[in-house]
Symmetry: C2
Subunit: 145 residues, 2 copies
DNA sequence: TATTGTTATACTCTATAACTATA
DNA sequence: TATAGTTATAGAGTATAACAATA
């Protein structure tokens, strides 16, 4: 992945940059697995949030994903076209839609989630027992810092 | 940063996604610090590689950064225009340039590096003694996996 | 023939601003 | 007035293909 004859020491001294490299290594696998199912990591993120939080509005999901609500339109269009998600008119507010997974979307999301986890287990080999839980906990503290 | 009333558990069960969130948290700081100096993380990466590996060709740097060589043209143009880097004709191959930092570029890179490290130390507060070294080592193993 | 730097081009992701229909 | 979804648009970032000069 990286040229061993090149000195990266200045970048590697920054936690942020090494974190980025590790994330890219993970996402290479993740993106490939998603691509085999004809989807992107971004769309999977939306599926995953709606799966656990059915009925959210588009704006609520965009806030959860950290993107602008304008970006949700094309994303939900794609997921609807693939019949994985559907917009239902909101009961109490005729401006907004409530988002739900279709039965097919539920199945799709669950299967892809399992496949991604299988691919991720490749990285378990470089971790000692207990290290993964430690990593997840530390990353969580970093995120909330 | 994230809505506490929303269930992210499906995404959080994936190391790759939590790694991405943590990386974004780090990079928010990193990008802001770079922006104050009128630069981007991408351009800083190029400066950092050339600083430690003076004389590399554009193609070699693009490979080190994991981008296409065509993307280097505009990047080096910007750095040359700011007089932080210079293209020198290669001795043995008249097709290529050798890249070097100017004295100003050396100073700039060193100062920005120090500033980024200072900002990163904000995250040290969430780590117990020794945890940072362990994290850097684990990330390194992940990158090489 | 292959490679370096370059240009033109396109595609994705994301953000902003303005519009409409509701609230 | 403010907000939800939408549209148009623009800016990064990155990739591909083709070209001239050189190897």
């Amino acid at each position: 992945m990286t040229d061993p004859s090149i000195d990266y020491s200045l970048l590697d001294s920054l936690v942020g940059y090494r974190l980025r490299k590790a994330q890219l290594a993970y996402f290479e696998d993740f993106t490939a697995t998603c691509a085999e199912e004809g989807i992107t990591p971004g769309l999977f993120g939306i599926l995953a949030v709606v799966q656990r939080n059915p009925g959210l509005t588009q704006t609520a999901v965009s806030q959860a994903m950290g993107t602008d609500r304008s970006a949700m339109v094309a994303a939900v269009d794609k997921l609807e076209k693939r019949q994985l998600m559907e917009r239902r008119p909101s009961d109490n507010d005729r401006r907004s839609y409530a988002l739900f997974l279709t039965p097919e979307g539920e199945q799709f999301t669950q299967r892809l989630h399992e496949r991604v986890q299988e691919h991720e287990s490749h990285f378990d080999r470089v971790m000692k027992p207990g290290e993964k839980e430690w990593l997840l906990d530390l990353l969580d503290r970093v995120i909330r810092a």
